[in-house]
């Protein structure tokens, strides 16, 4: 199909199938995560997920055989543009889509792909990611959660931390040390298991933003069937690195996806007003806004170029660290400027409006951007070694 036909078909289909309520700006509470226990906010949200999943467009790039849309890079871009055109909300967001899916597509067996991927595409199973541990943060490969081979099972014991939405997830993809005699990086396996398994418990962690998107997750002799390993034993680190690349691209790109791009300039004018020359009545804030605007244009251009490069079939590899570093540092600046631009209005934490405190909460939340998925310092170390070939 030529691209213009695809565009007009997609436009007509979206026009006919996207409910009006799904064409309005969304807050964090409006995200559809799917899963066994997900409570839809509205019939329209449920309907939107249903029709998009039927079409394969919850995961437009995946092959049709696994519940995807089988779209080419150019078609995906057009679909994205057409959805943006009518402000259509993403029908489904999940770690299954962003992370496990790509890993299974690359490393999974055919049986695993046919079993797990359609569940993700239809929003039936919500996944969480078991990576970090109390003693393994930036030094992720130092993880100690162990999986003991008991013949027909791995018996998993240990603790994970910073597990996003573990308390709401159905299944976990988890890094476990199954080969204790191997070296640090070659003793890890990538296991999948049900969070309802006996021995799994979770405890939410309250953050400075007041929200609890992360949990501590505990495993006490959890039995994991042996066919629930992805890739070979000891290959977990390779898969994890592949996944981290995806995560970095995603967090870098979340500049626009996860955070609403409010009009900083307008917010500042509303709060501060203009001086007699028509300039914002705060010279330093104005200067910082100016530098931010330039950097935002710059990063947006870089995302565009990088996207086109990847759609042309190139891999980013270590350079995904570039997007992660730049995108998250920029978002921190955006949120700082946003909270400053509103002055004392943005200090209100509790009140009557249902978005009360959101700016302050987003600002606080953004501080984690340069930590999660690898700190800025880890990104710079990766780039320095892998791209600049610095010694030692």
């Amino acid at each position: 199909m030529d691209l213009e036909t695809f565009r007009s078909d997609a436009r007509a289909w979206l026009e006919a199938n996207c409910p009006a309520e799904m064409r309005t700006p969304m807050g964090e509470d409006d995200i559809c995560w799917g899963g066994r226990n997900f409570v839809f906010r509205s019939p329209a949200q449920k309907q939107w997920l249903h029709v998009m999943a039927e079409k394969g467009w919850t995961v437009p790039s995946w092959p049709k055989a696994y519940g995807g849309g089988g779209l080419s890079g150019d078609e995906q871009k057009i679909l994205g543009q057409e959805m943006q055109r009518i402000s259509a909300r993403p029908p489904l967001q999940s770690f299954g889509i962003w992370m496990l899916g790509p890993a299974l597509l690359h490393f999974g067996t055919e049986d695993q792909k046919r079993h797990y991927l359609p569940q993700i595409a239809r929003g039936e199973i919500r996944w969480c990611q078991g990576y970090s541990e109390p003693g393994a943060g930036s030094d992720l490969a130092g993880l100690q959660t162990k999986g003991v081979d008991t013949g027909d099972h791995f018996e998993v014991t240990g603790q994970k931390i910073w597990t996003s939405y573990a308390d709401q997830a159905d299944w976990i993809f988890c890094l476990v040390r199954t080969e204790p005699d191997e070296k640090k990086h070659t003793g890890i396996s990538f296991l999948l298991f049900d969070m309802e398994s006996e021995g799994v418990s979770t405890k939410p962690i309250k953050l400075i933003s007041g929200a609890s998107p992360f949990c501590e997750t505990f495993f006490e002799a959890v039995k994991v069937p042996k066919d629930q390993i992805v890739g070979e034993r000891g290959q977990g680190w390779t898969i994890a690195k592949y996944l981290l690349t995806h995560e970095r691209e995603m967090i870098g790109a979340s500049d626009s996806a996860l955070f609403a791009k409010s009009d900083l300039a307008q917010d500042a004018v509303t709060a501060l007003g203009l001086d007699e020359t028509g300039r914002l009545d705060d010279a330093l804030l104005r200067a910082e806004l100016g530098q931010f605007l330039v950097d935002e244009l710059c990063f947006d251009a870089h995302l565009d170029m990088t996207g086109a490069y990847m759609r042309a079939g190139h891999e980013l590899g270590a350079r995904s660290a570039e997007l992660k570093y730049l995108g998250t540092e920029l978002n921190k600046r955006r949120q700082s400027l946003r909270v400053a631009a509103g002055g004392s209005d943005n200090l209100v934490w509790e009140g009557t409006a249902n978005d009360t405190g959101q700016v302050a909460k987003d600002w606080l939340r953004s501080k984690a951007n340069t930590i999660e998925g690898g700190t800025s310092e880890v990104m710079l170390s990766i780039l320095s070694k892998a791209v600049l070939k610095m010694p030692g």
Partner: protein, 369 residues
């Protein structure tokens, strides 16, 4: 990482090859030693390669490859510190003349493309880029039209066969051709810190024929806007080449220089600064490419992107050059190293067609703050 068309890739490869072989930095040093800020022979060479007509349509003698291709050439000129009228004449004057069109303008554009003439834009009247602050004006007198004013920072003005002057007539902007040898015109050549020519031009009751006036009023505004946007994007591309050269040389130094018994590139304090610089150069490269593409597509984003590119490049160019000298240590301060040459060129290119402050101010104004 940016995608190039086959034609663009050919241009990039031939620019890299030709300049590395015929105009390396040692050639620049030789010019500087000889006190030569013209490098006259190069204009014919660049014309032969088609570069002097790279953005000009074939109908007036150009090759019509566009601005992205021009940016790739400029980047290599920057990397090699090549002295040439490519940006001043082929891009800036060339864009203005092609945009004006018509007999006189097309004639001079053809002259530029064939390397027969160098045309320099005489715009600035203040030490900072202020294209709206024009006092140079044309008055109707009993003896005919007379042009008076004073222009500064006329890049390659001392080498030009013809000046393209921005002036006011009846309080509206206009562009006109002025012969630097005409009565009343005094061109004073200066050698700038980067060993490039930039003249001041004094215009005292210079006789102007109606045919010298190429464009006037709203049309002149449009031409000037397009010209400055093209100039900004291509100057930024040249400055990117300078910054990349400084950065590459520095990264290599970190990989080979030993202190305290180890390679200094093993120090995390330096690794992280180097990686940050790499990231900044990468995203700036994308922004400049986006601005150049916008020029080729005649997109409405040209104004915003070209200004953002020029502003961002000023910031990153400074970062690259300051880091280069600092990370080299004492040897980075010596004239024997090329780093100082890069730093001087970077400083000049930052001022050329407006610095970060100027263009950021425009962006802020545009957003209503």
């Amino acid at each position: 990482m940016e995608l190039l068309s086959e034609d663009q890739q050919l241009v990039a490869d031939s620019a890299a090859g030709f300049l590395r072989d015929s105009q390396p930095i040692t050639a620049f040093r030789a010019l500087r030693k000889a006190g030569d800020d013209a490098n006259s022979a190069i204009t014919a060479n660049l014309a032969e390669l088609g570069w002097m007509g790279v953005v000009l349509p074939e109908a007036i003698g150009g090759v019509g490859l566009g601005y992205r291709a021009a940016g790739l050439i400029a980047e290599e000129l920057g990397r090699n510190l090549t002295v040439s009228p490519f940006v001043s004449s082929a891009i800036i004057a060339g864009t203005a003349l092609a945009s004006i069109g018509g007999g006189g303008a097309a004639f001079w554009a053809g002259q530029i493309a064939s390397g027969q003439a160098i045309v320099a834009l005489a715009l600035e009247e203040r030490a900072k880029h202020r294209p709206d602050c024009i006092a140079t004006s044309i008055q109707a007198t009993s003896e005919g039209l007379r042009l008076s004013g004073r222009k500064g920072f006329v890049v390659d003005g001392g080498l030009a066969d013809c000046l393209l002057v921005v002036a006011k007539r009846d309080d509206a902007p206009c562009l006109l051709m002025v012969d630097p040898k005409a009565a009343g015109v005094t061109v004073t050549s200066q050698v700038m810190l980067d060993h490039r020519n930039a003249a001041t031009v004094l215009l005292e009751n210079v006789a102007v024929a109606e045919t010298d006036l190429l464009t006037h009023g709203p049309e002149a505004k449009r031409v000037l806007a397009k010209t400055l946007a093209a100039g900004r994007a291509v100057v930024a591309a040249e400055q990117l080449g300078v910054a990349k050269a400084a950065a590459d040389q520095t990264f290599e130094y970190l990989r080979t220089r030993k202190q305290f018994g180890v390679l200094i590139g093993q120090f995390q304090a330096l690794q992280h600064r180097a990686a940050d610089l790499h990231c900044e150069l990468a995203q700036t490269s994308s922004l400049i490419a986006a601005a150049l593409n916008a020029l080729d597509e005649d997109s409405p984003e040209v104004e915003t992107l070209s200004r953002a590119a020029k502003a961002k490049m000023a910031q990153v160019g400074r970062q690259a050059n300051e880091e280069a000298v600092q990370m080299h240590g004492g040897i980075g301060m010596t004239d024997e190293m090329d780093l100082g040459l890069f730093m001087k060129r970077d400083r000049a290119l930052t001022e050329y067609l407006g610095d970060a402050g100027h263009h950021t101010e425009w962006l802020l104004r545009q957003r209503g703050i």
